[in-house]
């Protein structure tokens, strides 16, 4: 595989992988470092890369590398808030962010209290706009498992937010 070909993989998966690692670890700088590492490892194995299976391979490397790091302080997730009804291109890089309202802050802290599996699946859908099927493929899970995690995540979020209200 040539570097040019590899770049298209990098372009497609850099942000989703960085986000995935952030959902796991809650540390942007760390997520970025590990994402670099993921691509370095993939590049070393570039001759074995099969385009069809490359995404689950990348997520697997990322997951394995993340195991070596502890999630930073619990429930300390900080997200940025995009304006409502964003244009599709702004999902990746919003032009500006909104002041966080009370509910956004509650949501943020509740997300931090989810289990890692719940948080990863929930945010891969909500932030990265991935379908259940796509999440299942990337994480090597069944769609049923994704559905179950999503269900539990929503249930947990509702309870946490209800109690605070």
């Amino acid at each position: 595989m040539e570097l040019a070909q590899f770049k298209s993989i990098f372009d497609e998966y850099y942000h989703p992988l960085k986000n995935f690692l952030y959902y796991k670890l809650g540390d942007v700088a760390l997520a970025e470092d590990i994402t670099q590492e993921v691509f370095m490892k993939a590049w070393e194995k570039k001759d074995q890369i099969v385009v069809e299976t490359v995404k689950s391979y990348l997520y697997k490397i990322a997951g394995n590398l993340a195991i070596n790091h502890f999630k930073s302080a619990k429930s300390n997730y900080e997200f940025e808030l995009k304006p409502e009804n964003p244009t599709p291109s702004s999902t990746e890089q919003p032009d500006y962010t909104m002041e966080k309202d009370e509910f956004a802050k509650q949501l943020e802290s509740a997300i931090g209290s989810l289990t890692e599996n719940q948080r990863v699946v929930f945010l891969m859908n909500r932030i990265d706009d991935l379908t259940y099927k796509e999440i299942a493929k990337r994480l090597d899970l069944s769609v049923k498992a994704v559905e179950k995690r999503m269900h539990n995540a929503l249930e947990a979020l509702r309870q946490m937010i209800d109690h605070k209200l």
Binding site: L3, K7, F10, D11, Y14, H15, K18, N19, Y22, V28, A29, A31, E32, T35, Q36, F39, M40, W43, E44, E78, F79, E80, L81, K82, P83, E84, P86, T91, Q93, P94, T97, M98, F103, A104, L107, E108, I111, F122, L123, N125, R126, I127, D129, T131, Y132, E147, M150, H151, L154, L157, R158, I161, D162
Partner: protein, 295 residues
């Protein structure tokens, strides 16, 4: 759960606003999720460095990587070189250098050559050849006696001090000791010696590469291959030498030049062989400290 499918459609953006309104009316659970689902879609991961910057970092790491790799391999490198050299030396020895086989007195040996030809070496003989490019350069050096069974192919040469035999594919016996005698058992062979040249057909032999004589061919191969030695008017000293070689013994004898022997011995029993050779010649012998002394 019954509303999981509905939630999935919602989260994947597959519900129209009408469908969503209807679903929320039917299921209060969904209503309570609306704010969570909508707000969470507005979240984004804090920006770090840009993807372009990350790519540039990646490329620069990839480019310095090969050197790092070589450095890591360094400890193995000298060993690899040594191993490769050792292998080359061994290969050289096997491929380019001569293979030499030798028989001791009392010993016989069959050697297969690279093309499937084979040679049987009689006692106290030496044969050497180079396996490299054998098909195009079939040449062996011989001292002593050997019976050759040569596969058809390029010319096959047996080089001795006194004569050279050239054949194409045949069976013959080469006796390259004090004299050079060649017996042809099959096909034809060319013998050259001191600018003389003679071509032998099956059943013919030569000792000087000039004249050829028929010999009594009892078997398809030389009888010594099965341990039998037949002589017709052969110098007696040569026969005694053969006894020494076959039985790995030393025989002391007075000057016997000029005497010739006709007869037979085999390699099974020393005393019988000695009697078969010496009695007809009017000679007697005794054993002394492992030596045979002929009177």
């Amino acid at each position: 759960m019954k509303n999981d499918d509905q939630i999935r459609n919602w989260l994947e953006g597959n519900l129209s606003s009408e469908e969503l309104e209807r679903a929320k009316r039917e299921d209060k659970d969904l209503q309570s999720l609306e704010e969570i689902i909508n707000k969470s879609a507005q979240l984004s991961v804090p920006q770090g460095k840009s993807k372009e910057a990350a790519w540039n970092d990646f490329v620069s790491k990839v480019e310095e990587k090969p050197q790092a790799k070589v450095r890591r391999l360094n400890p193995i490198f000298p060993i690899a070189i040594a191993a490769a050299l050792a292998l080359a030396v061994v290969a050289y020895i096997f491929v380019f250098s001569a293979t030499t086989i030798e028989t001791a007195p009392g010993e016989r040996l069959v050697q297969n050559l690279p093309d499937g030809s084979n040679v049987t070496l009689n006692a106290s003989s030496q044969l050497s050849y180079t396996a490299f490019n054998w098909e195009n350069n079939r040449e062996v050096k011989l001292t002593g006696e050997a019976f050759f069974n040569v596969e058809k192919g390029q010319s096959f040469s047996v080089v001795g001090d006194l004569a050279t035999i050239t054949v194409l594919g045949t069976q013959f016996n080469a006796y390259f000791r004090e004299t050079a005698e060649v017996k042809c058992y099959e096909g034809s062979v060319k013998v050259t010696s001191n600018k003389n040249q003679v071509i032998l057909e099956k059943g013919e032999k030569t000792t000087d590469a000039t004249e050829k004589h028929p010999f009594t061919q009892e078997n398809s191969t030389a009888s010594w291959l099965v341990g039998e030695f037949n002589y017709q008017n052969e110098p007696l000293e040569l026969v005694i030498d053969e006894l020494e070689r076959q039985y790995a013994i030393t025989i002391q004898h007075p000057d016997l030049s000029g005497r010739v022997y006709t007869g037979y011995f085999n390699d099974k029993d020393l005393d019988e062989a000695l009697q078969l050779v010496l009695v007809p010649m009017g000679l007697s012998y005794e054993k002394n400290e492992g030596k045979i002394i002929i009177k």
